[in-house]
């Protein structure tokens, strides 16, 4: 949402003038209305597309009226494009187990019994999330330490920084299989290799953001610190670090999203048994489209939650430092 905040928000053209316009204001004045409309349009297109996308499948009835054909297209076993409610159903079933058939639909839908087995999507999500978080911590720390070194040691700024930037023009995910295999042959498997890939991917935004942030204090402020005869240490803690915090959090939001990607891709090359990446891979092997989509939605939700958590940490930190938002 950062870009949106930077946009000049146009004042609603017809404020609270007429009562008849209030409804239109709600619909078109703010953001909620347009977003809802567009999401609705996307869903409508999605449902409509299910028939043409799936009509080539042998399990589809060749004739019949349109309603019946749509009915069939929305409830296929292995569709090319599953309908949204099939995905919701798959999410429900793969997290809370099969629907008990002896209850009416809606109460059955919301009754949940979680079994912590490898069949459970939550189990896979947690596997991915744990390596994401470990990788994010490692990468974030590495990024901050590198940035502090780069800002304070001229040689590193000139020699290391260009390579850190150049390393991003390399498709780093291509290195992921190597890391997995090399560490695997050293006997290290499971969480750590995936976390290393996550860390490798996410240190970069943190380093770049922190270098920018640590050098963001105005020269006047730096000169002021010099007139106080402040040590480099004091300048760092009292001026540079607080000035860098907004940059840090902005980078951390990007970093945690990328480190989730790293964890997912880290699960691909060795055919890992657990995790959202493994779920995508097995789904792709066995043509379980609904399972792929459910894993994808779970990954998206995980990313959104993680970014939101960083945003929350930001707000708490800013409030603790006496800042206002």
């Amino acid at each position: 949402m950062t870009t949106e905040a930077a946009l000049p928000t146009r004042p609603a053209p017809h404020g609270a003038r007429g009562g008849g316009r209030a409804a239109a204001d709600i619909l078109f004045g703010g953001q909620t209305g347009p977003v809802l409309v567009i999401v609705g349009v996307i869903l409508a297109i999605w449902y409509a597309a299910c028939l043409p996308m799936n009509s080539g499948l042998p399990s589809m009835p060749a004739e019949g009226d349109l309603a019946a054909r749509y009915q069939a297209a929305w409830s296929l076993e292995r569709p090319v494009l599953p309908s949204p409610h099939q995905i919701v159903m798959e999410l429900r079933v793969s997290t809370c187990g099969r629907l008990p058939s002896d209850q009416p639909f809606w109460s059955a839908f919301f009754s949940c019994e979680i079994r912590w087995t490898p069949r459970n999507l939550l189990f896979h999500a947690w596997t991915t999330l744990s390596s994401t978080l470990v990788g994010f911590l490692m990468g974030g720390l590495l990024g901050v330490v590198l940035a502090v070194l780069i800002v304070h040691i001229k040689t590193l700024e000139k020699s290391l920084l260009p390579w850190i930037i150049a390393s991003q023009t390399v498709p780093i995910l291509a290195v992921a299989p190597i890391v997995i295999v090399v560490l695997g042959s050293l006997g290290i498997t499971g969480l750590i290799p995936k976390s290393i890939i996550s860390a490798y991917l996410c240190f970069f935004p943190v380093t770049i953001g922190m270098v920018k942030g640590l050098t963001s204090p105005h020269p006047i402020d730096l000169d002021l610190m010099r007139t106080y005869d402040a040590s480099a240490w004091a300048t760092f803690w009292k001026l540079r670090w607080p000035a860098a915090l907004p940059f840090l959090f902005a980078s951390l939001k990007v970093a945690i999203a990328i480190s989730l990607v790293g964890a997912i891709v880290g699960e691909l090359p060795t055919g890992a048994q657990a995790g959202l990446g493994a779920r995508l891979l097995t789904g792709s092997y066995y043509g379980q489209t609904v399972q792929i989509w459910a894993a994808l939605i779970a990954a998206a939700a995980l990313a959104a939650l993680a970014v939101a958590a960083v945003g929350l940490a930001e707000r708490i930190t800013v409030a603790a430092l006496g800042g206002r938002r």
Binding site: M1, T2, P34, K158, P171, L173, A174, V175, I178, D223
Partner: protein
């Protein structure tokens, strides 16, 4: 960082640093020669590692001198800014070679750069085929299509504020999602060949282009916009003459981000299925066969491709957004 005035034009460190560098280069050549001899390879003694550490310290000292020096001529300054990272990179390669050969690291763990280079030269035809399949057939079309579509929809959003307010939050949300996950779906829809990779790349590059361009289109100043209004310029003229040019730094930012995303997208999509061609396919199969030198050769090609792609974009950016403050002479 603001340098005090008296540190401008400091050249006193350069001669000593250059002498030091020559000594370091001689030391490196000696070490490279020594480490490949049968009595040292794989069983280098302590004194050898001591010598390497000494070379390292000398190299650090010389680079430090060079990094601090500020020659008066701008051309020399630019050359120095280029030289220091190049030396650093070359030294890293040197250390990689020395450590892998000297300590006898098995090839299946970490091949030395010399082995990777030899493999690269040997398998140029295969690498070229993979390059054509992945980069020319998938990355570039997907990147152009995805970015172009993103920019076009951004202009449309600019025309229709309703669309912008509805699409922008979604765009911001989606660009933070692990879009790479759509790869298996696209492979299922568009088949194993390059079409599915193009589709993955299009989806991955669309949203960054959209989000950045929309932000860029509102980047022109209110003053300039008022000026255009006072000329009675219509929307199209304002867009073409003022707002699109003003948005160019943002657009190029998106294009650069997308150049990396496109390469990653195409390579990872090949993990989910591909004809027996392509960089991602080669990486995943050769990793399975434990021939890591081939994997590293493939990564080297990917690295050069990515850097050239990025460099070309940076050059174009410099030509098109020459007016931007970040290019002004400091």
């Amino acid at each position: 960082m603001s340098a005090p005035a008296q540190t401008r034009n400091r050249t006193d460190g350069i001669p000593a640093a250059l002498v030091g560098l020559v000594a370091v280069a001689a030391g490196c050549l000696w070490a490279l020669d020594a480490v490949h001899r049968p009595d040292l390879a794989g069983q280098a003694p302590a004194w050898f590692w001591g010598a390497i550490v000494a070379i390292w310290l000398a190299a650090w000292w010389a680079t430090d001198r060079l990094a601090r020096a500020v020659p008066p001529a701008p051309a020399a300054r630019r050359m120095l800014d280029l030289l220091v990272p190049i030396l650093f990179g070359a030294f890293l390669l040197f250390l990689w070679e020395i450590v892998t050969v000297g300590a006898g690291v098995p090839l299946v763990l970490m091949p030395p750069p010399s082995a990777i280079g030899a493999r690269l030269v040997q398998s140029l035809p295969i690498l070229a085929e993979d390059f054509v399949q992945t980069v020319l057939r998938a990355v570039i079309p997907g990147w152009a299509l995805g970015s172009g579509l993103g920019i076009a929809i951004a202009v449309l959003c600019d025309r229709l504020p309703f669309l912008r307010r509805g699409l922008m939050p979604i765009g911001n949300f989606v660009s933070a999602l692990p879009m790479i996950g759509i790869a298996p779906i696209m492979v299922m829809w568009f088949g194993f060949d390059w079409q599915s990779k193009v589709a993955v790349v299009v989806v991955m590059t669309f949203f960054p282009a959209l989000v950045n361009t929309v932000a860029g289109l509102s980047a022109s100043g209110a003053l300039e916009r008022d000026l255009m209004r006072s000329y009675a310029a219509d929307w199209a003229t304002t867009l073409l003459k003022l707002r699109l040019p003003a948005a160019m730094p943002f657009v190029f930012n998106a294009l650069k981000i997308n150049s990396t995303l496109a390469l990653i997208g195409a390579i990872v999509a090949e993990f989910f299925g591909t004809p027996i061609l392509g960089m991602g396919f080669r990486i995943s199969t050769e990793v399975g066969r434990m021939s890591l030198d081939m994997v590293w050769a493939e990564i080297a090609v990917a690295a050069v491709t990515g850097s050239v792609f990025y460099g070309l974009l940076a050059l174009a950016e410099r030509r098109i957004t020459f007016w931007h403050p970040s290019y002004r002479r400091r």
